[in-house]
């Protein structure tokens, strides 16, 4: 059976969650591997949320926020961007491929882009194979 990854996605309420809603309203089709969590702003996505998702068995984590300059809260997405680069380095040092964590910008009108992004990320994670974090932690403890 083909490996079906689980991807946890954090979407900001104003742009990306609305964009994902639009993909639905427009009946666009995309891979069902994604599990969405709504946050008010991508700036709310704490590093612990991302690590927790991997710890619980996620094979990939996606964060989506408003495009640079369009943040509903002015600059939360920039804060997220900074954390993202640090987090990518961090998971790489943990021995993970940094592509398992991906940040992208989806506006409220970009339903199509959201659907394409999910498909693309799902494909990437499929190629990377299952994430071993949960398994490793369970073996260690």
């Amino acid at each position: 059976m083909e490996f079906e990854p689980t991807i946890v996605a954090f979407l900001c309420n104003w742009c990306s969650y609305t964009g994902a809603d639009l993909a639905g309203t427009s009946r666009m089709k995309y891979a069902s591997n994604i599990r969405v969590i709504r946050v008010m702003c991508s700036g709310r996505v704490e590093p612990t949320f991302v690590l927790k998702a991997f710890r619980e068995g996620a094979d990939g984590v996606l964060i989506c926020g408003c495009h640079p300059g369009d943040c509903h809260y002015h600059e939360g997405n920039y804060k997220c961007l900074r954390r993202y680069h640090l987090l990518q380095n961090y998971i790489e040092q943990m021995g993970m491929d940094k592509r398992r964590l991906h940040l992208d910008w989806i506006s409220a009108s970009e339903g199509k882009q959201f659907a394409e992004l999910v498909d693309k990320m799902t494909q990437t994670i499929k190629e990377l194979g299952p994430c071993q974090v949960k398994h490793s932690v369970e073996t260690l403890t």
């Binding site: 490996f3 079906e4 990854p5 689980t6 946890v8 309420n13 104003w14 742009c15 969650y17 609305t18 994902a20 809603d21 993909a23 639905g24 309203t25 009946r27 666009m28 089709k29 995309y30 069902s32 591997n33 599990r35 969405v36 969590i37 709504r38 946050v39 008010m40 702003c41 700036g43 709310r44 996505v45 704490e46 590093p47 612990t48 949320f49 927790k52 998702a53 619980e56 068995g57 996620a58 408003c66 300059g69 369009d70 509903h72 809260y73 002015h74 600059e75 939360g76 804060k79 954390r83 506006s107 409220a108 009108s109 970009e110 659907a115 299952p130």
Partner: protein
């Protein structure tokens, strides 16, 4: 600690969800989760009987948490929160799982969609365990209103509110009110005078005791929240005026598309290729001539310039077809013998009296030629000296399928409407979002077309999408009515999902203060802790993610809630 008693409701949404998700199986799986007392599926949870089902269960089973898995929370979260309130529960003891927009509508495999629904609902169940009662906060409404943009929409809204005796601050960037309508000659479909329509309104707005007009003025930043905003109006000579207001109407209008972006139109290079607004200028001055002062004998109107084309704007600008038909009539009465060509791609003469205008125009000896605006617009070149006209238009006529050449002395480009060039700055200042094409996004396209996701901020007229005068005025008056209702009520309930500091854990590092975009956090030096001003805080949660000790909690988006939601989601993950 009280026992957690959760009710879970899985909506079919008719067949919208039930067709792709096995709602019964989802409800059944949820019954296995500790704390879930009842889990049911029902045809339409948002209907009155659906809500009643929840209310009855809350009472009968002593539920203290509710999860509804249905459509997007952006649509019905408030509906269900209200139902909880009606049953005597705090409305925040509720969580919604989106299994329609994010599931049944976007997937094609029923087993996968059902599996995903289980995960999303399990996540919501885990999250709602950690929900806390939050008190609603009621704020008083400042009865003054700020209106940005003094075109027909802004003026109409201003007069509506001012006539009710409430203060309006009308801020216009230009040196006079009137916007685009003040630049027009006649209006479709009845060819009545734009000036007779707009000038009395301008005069009334300028002289109204309850309207303070600011000309040559701009707003750079708006502070506060619904009911209690404040801003500075900047005018020439560093003149600044501070104003306070309870609501904002954005009516910044439109900008015409620049046709010099399309090379083969030769706009700006050929002097007798002009835009629709430039033709209005000529008509308004009563001087419809070519650049050499002579009367044109062949006039071509090209539709859809910049509209309905992927390279420019995919949308239809809605007014250009009717405007072009209006021009044909005006030109015909000015030059009874002139040849008039409407070079169109589809005539969209919708609206009251407009199809009639089309029928009437077609009888005025006007030649209608169809081009493919998704392909190439007509190529405009200078005519050879032997020709009696000064330009030639070349294109493939769609109905005959033939390559045609049309002579012209004057070419009018029916240019698209774009959002105003300052749309982005205004969006930032007042906190509204934009579509990809720079028009503002309304709260709901059908059910809440003039409100935005920011409380107390409304968008009306062409800044929201291309519009004609009746639509702009309707929107303006609708927004005015919404605001008057709030002013009349006197207060409004606002979200209380702000950040809060646990002073016992706060180490006084002040990291939160440096990341807060609203300067809503200050430092209490005596206690050595950060303090959140709940009035200024908008609940983005950025401080919560930055706090190294976990002292700041984002209410309703706490670490515990989100981490539990992750656990819940992953408890139903696909098997590797």
């Amino acid at each position: 600690m009280e026992e957690i008693r959760i009710g879970v409701y899985v909506c079919w949404c008719g067949t919208n969800i039930a067709k792709m998700v096995d709602v019964e199986a989802v409800a059944k799986a949820m019954r296995e989760i500790p704390g879930v007392i009842v889990a049911k599926d029902y045809k339409y949870m948002c209907s009155d009987p659906g809500q009643e089902l929840i209310i009855q269960d809350i009472k009968e089973h002593n539920l203290n948490r509710v999860v509804v898995s249905a459509c997007s929370p952006r649509i019905h979260e408030l509906t269900f929160r209200k139902a909880l309130e009606n049953a005597g529960l705090n409305p925040y003891m509720f969580e919604m799982a989106n299994i329609r927009e994010h599931d049944s509508w976007v997937h094609t495999d029923r087993a996968e969609a059902t599996q995903k629904a289980k995960a999303l609902v399990a996540g919501a169940i885990n999250r709602v365990r950690w929900h806390e009662s939050l008190d609603k906060r009621s704020v008083e409404i400042n009865p003054a209103t700020l209106i940005i943009g003094g075109g027909i929409a802004g003026i109409s809204a201003a007069l509506e509110i001012a006539d009710a005796g409430k203060q309006v601050y009308l801020v216009e960037k230009q040196s006079q009110l009137g916007g685009t309508v003040a630049k027009l000659d006649l209006l479709f479909p009845h060819l009545d005078s734009a000036q007779q329509l707009i000038q009395p309104k301008i005069n009334r707005a300028m002289n109204h005791l309850s309207i303070q007009c600011f000309l040559n003025a701009e707003i750079r930043e708006v502070f506060g929240y619904i009911g209690n905003f404040e801003a500075k109006v900047y005018q020439k000579d560093d003149l600044e005026t501070e104003i306070q207001f309870g609501n904002v109407i954005v009516a910044t209008g439109l900008k015409p598309f620049d046709p010099s972006k399309i090379d083969q139109l030769n706009y700006k290079r050929l002097p007798n290729v002009i835009t629709s607004l430039e033709l209005e200028e000529k008509l308004l001055s009563g001087n419809l001539v070519m650049d050499n002062g002579k009367d044109p004998k062949h006039i071509a109107l090209i539709h859809c310039i910049g509209s309905r084309n992927k390279n420019h704007h995919e949308y239809c600008s809605r007014t250009c077809c009717n405007t072009a038909l209006k021009y044909s009539n005006q030109i015909r009465s000015a030059f009874p013998d002139a040849a008039i060509y409407e070079i169109y791609s589809d005539i969209r003469s919708f609206g009251k009296g407009c199809e009639e205008l089309y029928t009437h125009t077609a009888r005025q000896d006007v030649m209608f030629l169809m081009y493919d605006q998704k392909g190439e617009v007509p190529k405009i070149t200078e005519a050879r000296h032997s020709e009696k006209v000064n330009m030639m238009l070349e294109f493939r006529e769609q109905l005959s399928g033939e390559h045609v050449e049309v002579p012209a002395d004057l070419v009018v480009l029916m240019v698209a409407m774009e959002a105003h060039e300052n749309a982005k700055e205004i969006a930032h200042a007042v906190g509204v979002s934009m579509c990809g094409n720079s028009f503002y996004i309304e709260k709901h396209p059908k059910l809440d077309p003039v409100a935005t996701t920011t409380g107390g901020v409304y968008v009306v007229g062409s800044c929201q999408s291309p519009k004609d005068i009746p639509d702009s005025v309707s929107q303006a008056r609708a927004a005015a009515a919404r605001i008057m209702a709030d002013i009349n009520f006197g207060s409004v309930e606002v979200e209380v999902t702000t950040a809060v500091v646990n002073e016992d854990i706060c180490c006084g590092c002040q990291t939160c203060i440096s990341v807060c975009p609203y300067t809503a956090i200050h430092f209490d030096a005596e206690k050595n802790v950060s303090v959140v001003n709940e009035i200024l805080c908008k609940g983005c949660g950025t401080c919560g993610s930055a706090c190294p000790t976990g002292a700041i909690r984002s209410r309703h988006f706490t670490d515990k809630q989100i981490l539990s939601q992750i656990e819940g989601l992953m408890s139903m993950q696909l098997q590797h």
